[in-house]
Amino acid sequence: MNERNDTSHMKILEKIAGIAASERNDYLMQAKKSGKKVIGFFCSYVPEEIIHAAGFIPYRMRAVASSGTEKGDIYFSSLNCTFVRHCFDKALKGDFDFLDGIVFLNGCDHTRRLYDNWRHADIPPEFRYMFVAPHKVGTTAEKRFSGEIEVFKKELERYFNVTISDETLAASIKLYNRRRELLQSIYEAGKSKEVPLRGSEFLRLMLALTAMPVEDSIALLEEFKGEIQGRSTARPGDLRIFLASGCVEEPGHLELIEELGASIVANNICLGTRNFDLAVSEDDEPVPSLAKRYLYHLSCPRMMNTSRERLAYMQDTCREFQVDAIIAEKLKFCDLWGGELFLYRKESRKLGIPLLALERELYGGSSGQMRTRIQAFYEQVRNRKSTADDLFCAAGDDYQAGGKN
């Protein structure tokens, strides 16, 4: 890689890191200044295209730069997940005062209460909407999802006095598909030995893209894609990791996983593949097409009847990305990812793929402890590599001492 290339991709990575580090960024604020409205949303099941077609900027909610949960803890208990507590804390402190609307989703028991507590604390914006996504796939659910999107569309039109035509919606779908396509190709590059982009960098990229106008994000991605071509981040002996988790959003945590001797080459996280998996059909009616895409994209454990597909995805991805080991994480008190980790542990054992199951708190620190666990796990994986191939490498029974995998 030549020097010019090196400095220019460093520049763009730095720029992205800057955007990712805060809840607001220049792109967003400039668009806001020019009269664009910003609508926050909470989950990968909210169809961003509808918000965009209304003329607004969809903004993925996050807890980045959170300074704690003291205020959030007045509303949520210590039995609630830290993602929710941090987000609500930020909301109470006014960190999201740039929002013109916010869309909640019945993602899990914790996030659905964000809708309730937001209203109870009467935190702006005034437009607070609960978008309801089915918990299963199938024809009935698809029909329901279409209906839900229609109602959401009408409500945006009514409240903000705008019109969402089929044409504008089709144009939005095109744009988001383009972004998905670019992201998919960057992600796929992780299959190569060179690993042009580390997992932590990929997460920063996702954080940045989901907080800016989609048009800007596409321009940035196109530039970015060119810049990282030919780049290699692989170090000799690095393990190739598949990361599965819910609301992970700390690049620092992923850096820790990587700096100990690994590259996160593939993932199933909200701010990862679940964001760009599966394109929306551009040939059919927009709303049903959106329903199809959002219902059938790579699911998370909130979906009841797709666990087999998720496990198959895990297996296929491990094969295609030549993964050495899986790190599966959950935040404390997350029932959904807790259950998913159970499945991952059983399945990875069956398949003979080493797995480290981690439980942690969002922005919880304790990296010393985490470091030791990850290091020990890597050693186990490497030992296995250098000894008997069929030796199963036990998962890090980190949060469940007696876990038998």
Binding site: I74, Y75, F76, S77, L79, N80, V84, N106, C108, D109, H110, R112, R113, Y115, D116, N117, H120, M130, V132, P134, H135, K136, G138, T140, A141, K143, R144, G147, P301, R302, M304, N305, S307, K330, K332, F333, C334, D335, L336, G338, G339, E340, L341, F342, L343, R345, K346, D397, Y399, Q400, G402, G403, K404, N405
Partner: protein, 467 residues
């Protein structure tokens, strides 16, 4: 506890219930008056706490009133107990004979299964019936699930199902009917059970709201379930059988709604344990005609007191509203409060009935109304949507039942409940309603013991001058 649990033989807890406990209680309840006197005389030996001498009897004795429940109520329980015995026997027989057996999650009832004439089993049954061999068993089943990697934060009630499965305490299913409500724990654990058993699983998807579109969606789910069952069982639904069971369900609902209505009277004529137990019987054995007999018996016992204008306790001192699920390992809490403090639970989260009358005229009306009714079962109806489903009902209850105080049953599995606590607290504060906020696990006494719960309640009553 662990070593004792290890000795459990296959299906031992169910068989123990069938052969030794429920059966004996059933027989003894043919002479409820005599049993009442025996329970009363023996009270000093089992009422205070569990020990090696009383452990296999205590839970059963206390659940049927511990010598302080009127024999008329006890008579009603006889039918319920028989319905449960029959269900356990049928489920075990189906397993033995390699016949189809459907596991039905505890937030759903098994009416549809009746229309396919196969055996059904409530996966969470041992939450209640596991205590009859000693109250250490449910925690042992939960501990087993946790030791196998089931997340500790999952609701203990559903964790126990996985533990029961691992320890071979429940019969193997041939299919599972699960639901996305009331909470994430069900979503999570039933995916685990589907994975472990490897059997075809149908998931009901509960809507978020309770509007026409939502009911329609849930109804479509029921049609999908029928389709699923027809395919899996290779037979058609028997609408006549469904009609029969739904007519009985209507009867159950009628009696229980009447009881709820009567309980508004001051003094309160009914005891909440009866409604809570009927909820359990409905879950396990809604298909049995005996479930109607139990509901009718409870109704008659309550009506008798209501007509005479007397309360379930002679001197009613305080009326309690219990919000969030009651304690499975301490079902005696209701009678204990009545007996010790003259404190009557006038309404609670699961016993209160708001299911609708099911029109049995056509298959369409049956499926529609049954679906709607299912969404109104206790715990399900409050937990699956916005906080208003909890608070609005609470407000209505406070008005309807002239409650003096509220107990918030802070079950650590109900994370959605904890996330709503500030809203509930603010609401009760605004109402000027004294409230006790308990922190416990409804199925796992290791979290907060019966003695600790009793102490907190006693202190609360004392501090308000009710004791």
């Amino acid at each position: 506890m662990f070593s004792r649990k290890k000795q459990l033989r296959s299906r031992e807890l169910l068989k123990f219930n069938i052969n030794h406990r429920l059966n004996l209680l059933y027989v003894a309840l043919f002479v409820p008056r005599l049993l009442y006197f025996i329970l009363r005389i023996l009270r000093p030996f089992y009422e205070r706490k569990e020990n090696w001498l009383n452990k296999t009897w205590r839970y059963g004795f206390l659940t049927i009133g511990g010598g302080v429940m009127h024999p008329a109520e006890m008579r009603a329980y006889r039918a319920g107990i028989k319905a449960v015995i029959d269900n356990f026997k049928t489920a075990l027989a189906a397993e033995r004979n390699n016949e189809p057996l459907a596991w039905v999650e505890w937030i759903l009832n098994a009416e549809i299964i009746e229309a396919f004439d196969i055996a059904s089993f409530n996966t969470e049954s041992l939450n209640i019936f596991g205590n009859t061999m000693g109250s250490e068993y449910p925690p042992a089943l939960i501990a087993e699930a946790e030791s196998q990697g089931v997340p500790v934060e999952n609701c203990s009630a559903v964790k126990l199902s996985v533990g029961s499965y691992f320890l071979k305490q429940i019969p193997e299913p041939t299919l599972i009917i699960a639901a996305s409500h009331p909470c994430d724990s069900s979503i999570s654990v039933y995916q685990i059970l589907e994975y472990l058993t490897g059997v075809p699983t149908f998931s009901y998807d509960a809507p978020y709201w309770k509007d026409a579109t939502s009911y329609e969606y849930f109804t479509m789910n029921t049609w999908d379930l029928i389709d699923f069952l027809e395919k899996q069982l290779d037979k058609k639904i028997d609408w006549e059988k469904l009609r029969e069971v739904l007519e009985r369900v209507n009867e159950i609902n009628f009696y229980l709604r009447e009881v709820c209505e009567m309980n508004r009277a001051v003094p309160c004529p009914g005891t909440m344990i009866s409604l809570a137990l009927t909820w359990v019987i409905r879950e396990v054995a809604v298909r049995s005609p005996l479930a109607v007999s139990m509901a009718k018996g409870v109704y008659e016992a309550t009506k008798y007191r209501f007509d005479k204008g007397v309360g379930v306790v002679k001197n009613e001192r305080v009326r309690v509203l219990m919000w969030f699920p009651p304690i499975g390992f301490f079902t005696y809490i209701f009678k204990w409060m009545e007996h010790e403090f003259g404190a009557v639970v006038v309404a609670d989260f699961i016993g209160h009935i708001s299911t609708i009358h099911i029109n049995t005229e056509t298959p369409e009306t049956m499926v529609h109304d049954l679906s709607r009714s299912q969404l109104h079962l206790g715990m399900g109806r409050q937990c699956h949507g916005p906080v208003e489903f909890i608070v609005d009902e609470l407000e209505k209850m406070l008005e309807d039942y002239s409650a003096d105080c509220v107990f918030f049953m802070g079950h650590n599995g109900c994370k959605h409940g904890w996330a709503a606590l500030k809203i509930i607290k603010d609401f009760l504060k605004k109402k000027g309603m004294p409230a006790l906020y308990l922190n416990l696990d409804i199925m796992d006494k290791r979290h907060t013991s019966e003695q600790e719960i009793k102490k907190e309640i006693t202190d609360f009553f004392r501090s308000h001058g009710w004791a």
